[in-house]
Symmetry: C2
Amino acid sequence: FEQKRQIDSSLGGIKNKIGVYSGKGGVGKTTVAVNLSAALANSGHSVGILDVDIDCPNVVRAMKISEQPMLDENKKMIPAERFGVKVMSMAYFQENEDEATIWRGPMIHNAINQMLQSTNWGELDYLIVDLPPGTSDSPLTVMQTLTMDGFVVVTTPQELAKIDAKRSINMIKKLQVNVLGIVENMSGGIFGSGAGTEIANELNLDFLGSIKLRQDYQDTSKPASLLNNEILNEYESII
Amino acid sequence: FEQKRQIDSSLGGIKNKIGVYSGKGGVGKTTVAVNLSAALANSGHSVGILDVDIDCPNVVRAMKISEQPMLDENKKMIPAERFGVKVMSMAYFQENEDEATIWRGPMIHNAINQMLQSTNWGELDYLIVDLPPGTSDSPLTVMQTLTMDGFVVVTTPQELAKIDAKRSINMIKKLQVNVLGIVENMSGGIFGSGAGTEIANELNLDFLGSIKLRQDYQDTSKPASLLNNEILNEYESII
Ligand SMILES: Nc1ncnc2c1ncn2[C@@H]1O[C@H](COP(=O)(O)OP(=O)(O)O)[C@@H](O)[C@H]1O
Ligand SMILES: Nc1ncnc2c1ncn2[C@@H]1O[C@H](COP(=O)(O)OP(=O)(O)O)[C@@H](O)[C@H]1O
C-alpha cells in the first residue's frame, strides 16, 4: 500500500493519463504516442510521455534524447524535455542500448513501480503512456499498475492487423478499461484503408481519425508532426 | 524428462527445424514464415509450419485453414494441410477467435510442450516455426523448449526497426542459438531499404535477401508467393 500511495503522489499533478496501445507491434504505436504528445505541446498544453514498452522502448530515440535524467533534492528523477514534452522511459533502466533486457513477469511489475514512484512530473495537463503491444504479461501489468483515464488503440489497415486489434480490444474491455477510440495509421497507400472504421463500428467505439502512410517518417530528426503541417493537422483532429 | 523424450519422438522425423523470429512485431514475420513454407513445398519438399506466436497466432488465417485438427489412433493431432504445407498452431488452443488469451509465463511453457508432444508430423524435410516477436518470456520459452537448427531474423528498412533487430539478435546470441541470417522485408518503397545489409555487416551475419513492399499482399486468398512469380523468386533466392 505504501507503494501505491507513493505512486499516486508522484502522479498527483497530472490531469489526464492517456494510454496508447496496440494488439500487435509495428503498427506505429510509438510514432502515434510521440506525435500526439508533440501536437498537444505545440498547442500550448503541458505534456509528458512515459514509455513502458519494455521490449522496444523507442520513445527516447524518437524524441532525440541522449542524456540520463537529473535528480531533484528528494532523489526523484526529473524527466528530460524535448519539443516541449517531458520524457521518461524504461530505456533508462536497460544497461546498454544494444542489449535487450530479458523481462520476466514479476520483474516487469517491480521496474514499472519503481519508475512511477521515483519520477517528479510536476503539474501536467496530459501524460501520454506508450504501452507494450500484445496480450501477454507486459501490457496487462502496466494497465493494472497505472490507473489511466482512457486508451487510444492503434491499428493499420491490413486484414490481419484488424483481427489482432479486435482480439486485443476484447481483452482490455474485460479489464474494465475505458477505450477512447481507434486510430488507423499507415492509411491510404500500399496497405489500403478502412479497417479502423470497421473495427469502430463492430465494437461500438469512436473512430478518432486516420494518419496517412508517408515518406516523411523516414526523416527521424524530429517527430513528423513538427516537420509537416498536414501531419500536424491529422494529429490535431484526433485530439 | 519424460516430456522431453515425448517431444523428441514426435519431432523425430523432421530433418530441419528453422525458426522465423523478429525483435519487433508487424515487420512481416508471419508473412515470411508462411511464404517460405509455401515456396519450399512448391519446389517439392515436405514441409510443416508451427505457429507458436502466442499473442497473434495468424498462420492459420494466412493459410486459410478453418477446420480443427483430426486425431490419429494414438490420440495425436494430425496437422491440417494447405498449399502442400502441414499446419499446426497455438490458435487451436484459444477458446474463440475474437478473444485474446492472456498468457502468463508458466502457462506458455505448458501449452507449447503439450502441443509439441501431441502432434504427429510424420516425416518432414522442413519444419518452419513462427516465433513470438520481442524479448519477453514467450520467445525465450519457445527457444529453450524447441531445439532449432537455426533462426532467420526478419527486419524492415526503417531506422527504429534496425535498432530493435540488433538488440534482439544480441539477446538470442546469448542463448547460443544459430542465426542463419537476416531478411529485409517491405523493402524499396515508402520505408526505404538497406537496414538488412547494415545489420548483417555490423553483426557479422549472412544477408539472406530482401522482399519488396507490394500491393499484392492485400489479396489474402493465398500466400503471395503463390499469386505472383516475382515474389516466389524472392523467397526461392532466400532458401
Ligand atoms: N504513417 C506512417 N507512415 C510511414 N511510416 C510510418 C508511419 N507510422 C509509423 N511509421 C514508421 O513505422 C515504423 C514502426 O513504427 P513504431 O511507431 O515503432 O511502431 P510500434 O510502436 O507499433 O512498434 C517506424 O520506423 C516509423 O517511422
Ligand atoms: N512485403 C510486404 N509488402 C506489403 N505488405 C506486407 C509485406 N509483408 C507483410 N505485409 C503485410 O503486413 C502485415 C503484417 O505482417 P505480419 O506477417 O502479420 O507481421 P508480423 O508477423 O511481423 O507481426 C500483414 O497484413 C501483411 O500482409
